[in-house]
């Protein structure tokens, strides 16, 4: 037999028992040729183009799913940051575009379409200013549209004016979607060093250096890693890194195969594999559980950051070995609301916002899906975003903030979205003010690290 008995059973165990799945196949579509002086024509062009490339996306992904016996959890679409091709639009027109995107996503049969985005790390055009103002309206009046704004980069520095605006946008989005636990904020990401080929919604967009259309794949599988670590028993850290690497290597290979097949069926080029351990609300599909299995009592204990750093690094190394098209975030995600272990750690007081922030310095994204009291001042939210941007800019890595100031809620209460977004406990935020700092406005200059030429 060309395969060992154990090899075959290992694959079956990963796919059937340990929740190994392809987290997302994301079709990136350029909308740069869709602008027209007449907004109605623009809308029609956008709708037609998304449907032209995306109409069989879901069906093709399902075919590949059954062929290889590996489930694909999400089928999604990302687009050119909307503010770029449609820079001359007004707030009302941007809103019209958002509704068009929502309609196109519904027609194709996908849950989220991402790329209602802008890149303003160095400054804003008039169009981008209008665009950012439109975000709360777009997120509250559509169901499927996801938005992201890049406000800082290692090359450009940290745009504090943009951060202030985004803090306002977050607050306003929370209020406009208060009937549904401020769900709009769960679809809004503020980035530093955003990547152009990230397949993971809500932060996905189709970067400006990307081709006409491309298919990127996001792989996950915390359950698989958890079981491998448990099975390894008490080994030293080098051996543990080896165990993680071997496991990730295999699932990355499988992920790339699936991505290439879906791309082939859609007749579009294959882009990248993003191997990111991302939890889901399902029991056992948790990053917190991995950290605990590595030996910390609970997430938040001293040693947590080191364990996460090692996990993140092992994931990256294995991904690099397994595929020559690794991209996106590639590492470990630590969203609170989507991870049962994280939720429990917050509830019993083991995990604070400050410890989470430290963890984001070594993981692949940032403060993700965190609920804070609804009365948190705008300037404090801006301060949280600025801190996170500083970590990203100085360390030359992507960081993001997806924070939910839960309207009318306080510490101890929950926001509950069900499904993939999960449920987040409202976390305590320091009452100290940073108003005079963020209120200065302007831009924190690019760090030493930017001068590499």
């Amino acid at each position: 037999m060309p395969y060992e008995f154990e090899e075959i059973l290992e694959t079956i165990r990963m796919t059937e028992i340990e929740h190994f799945d392809i987290r997302t196949v994301t079709l990136g579509i350029s909308l740069r040729d869709c602008h027209d002086r007449n907004i109605e024509v623009t809308k029609q062009k956008i709708y037609d183009k998304i449907l032209r490339y995306g109409k069989n996306h879901v069906k093709n992904a399902r075919d590949v799913e059954s062929r290889f016996g590996i489930s694909i959890a999400n089928k999604r679409i990302s687009m050119t940051p909307i503010s770029i091709p449609f820079d001359s639009c007004t707030l009302e027109e941007y809103l019209e575009i958002a509704k068009t995107l929502d309609k196109a996503a519904e027609e194709i049969g996908i849950d989220y379409i991402a790329g209602y985005s802008a890149l303003v790390q160095k400054g804003m055009t008039n169009g981008e200013l209008e665009f950012i103002k439109s975000i709360p309206f777009a997120l509250s009046q559509t169901k499927r549209v996801c938005s992201s704004v890049n406000v800082a980069s290692t090359k450009a520095g940290i745009n504090m004016d943009a951060i202030r605006m985004m803090a306002d946008v977050i607050k306003s989005t929370a209020e406009k979607t208060k009937d549904r636990d401020s769900i709009g904020c769960a679809k809004l990401v503020v980035f530093a060093n955003a990547v152009e080929d990230n397949p993971f919604v809500a932060g996905a967009f189709h970067g400006i250096s990307e081709p006409e259309v491309v298919l990127n794949v996001g792989i996950s599988g915390p359950g698989v890693v958890l079981e491998a670590i448990k099975e390894a028993g008490h080994v030293d850290l080098q051996q543990l890194a080896e165990v993680i690497k071997k496991t990730i290597f295999k699932i990355t290979r499988a992920g790339e195969l699936i991505g290439r097949k879906v791309a082939e069926r859609n007749n579009v080029p294959f882009g990248i594999v993003d191997i990111s351990l991302a939890p889901t609300p399902a029991e056992g599909d948790s990053i917190a559980d991995i950290l605990k299995s590595m030996g910390v009592e609970d997430v938040g204990a001293p040693g947590t950051t080191a364990a996460l750093a090692m996990l993140n690094d092992a994931v990256k190394k294995a991904g690099l070995m397994a595929s020559s098209s690794v991209g996106g975030m590639s590492g470990a995600f630590i969203p609170v609301s989507e991870d049962q272990g994280m939720i429990r750690a917050v509830q019993v007081g083991h995990l604070s916002l400050e410890k989470l922030e430290a963890m984001t310095a070594v993981c692949s994204v940032g403060l993700d899906m965190i609920a804070i009291p609804g009365d948190t001042p705008v300037t404090t939210i801006a301060g949280i975003i600025a801190d996170e941007c500083a970590i990203g800019v100085i360390n030359d890595k992507t960081t993001a903030v997806r924070i939910i100031p839960a309207y009318g809620k306080n510490v101890g209460e929950f926001v509950d979205y069900g499904g993939l977004l999960g449920k987040a406990p409202v976390m305590e935020v320091r009452k100290l003010s940073c108003e005079n700092f963020v209120g200065r406005g302007g831009r924190i200059p690019a760090p030493m690290r930017s001068l590499t030429n």
Binding site: E7, T11, F68, G69, L257, N267
Partner: protein
């Protein structure tokens, strides 16, 4: 026999030259199709085809009882699937069986065979997975 890409490219260039200024994508396609028909190339799939093998791996497990192998192989035989390899292990009351099957001669596609097999799995109250060989090749072979 299928034409290779090189030959098709040559035919396409010839067609473009013959058509000269009248060449449009549609007309070239038409001319190339005709030419391929003449040279006996038969139908050529213009889209890049699936070059991987037609082999799938069947894995089944459950409580041991009489008739499992018979049930599975009967369905495979009816679908004209060729069993190329088979191993089986018993662990206490549990059995595991793995088969490598070539389905390229079958009149049914993988999805239809999966549906047939899942009916049998329900009848016998066991689990059967049918996956294309590539996924194992990618995961366990470099």
């Amino acid at each position: 026999m299928k034409l290779n890409e090189e030959e098709i490219r040559k035919i396409t260039f010839e067609a473009i030259q013959e058509l000269g200024s009248e060449a449009t994508p549609e007309r070239i396609k038409e001319a190339v199709r005709k030419k391929i028909g003449e040279t006996g190339g038969g139908e050529y799939n213009f889209k890049k085809g699936d070059v991987s093998s037609g082999r799938v791996i069947l894995t089944s497990f459950g409580l041991n009882k009489p008739g499992i192998v018979a049930g599975v192989t009967k369905a495979l035989g009816e679908a004209n699937c060729d069993i190329q390899d088979l191993t089986q292990k018993l662990m206490g009351d549990f059995f595991t069986m793995i088969m490598i099957i070539d389905i390229s001669a079958s009149q049914k596609d993988l999805k239809q065979i999966q549906e047939e097999i899942s009916k049998i799995a329900d009848e016998l109250k066991i689990k059967i997975y049918l996956q294309h060989e590539d996924v194992f090749r990618y995961m366990h072979r470099i």
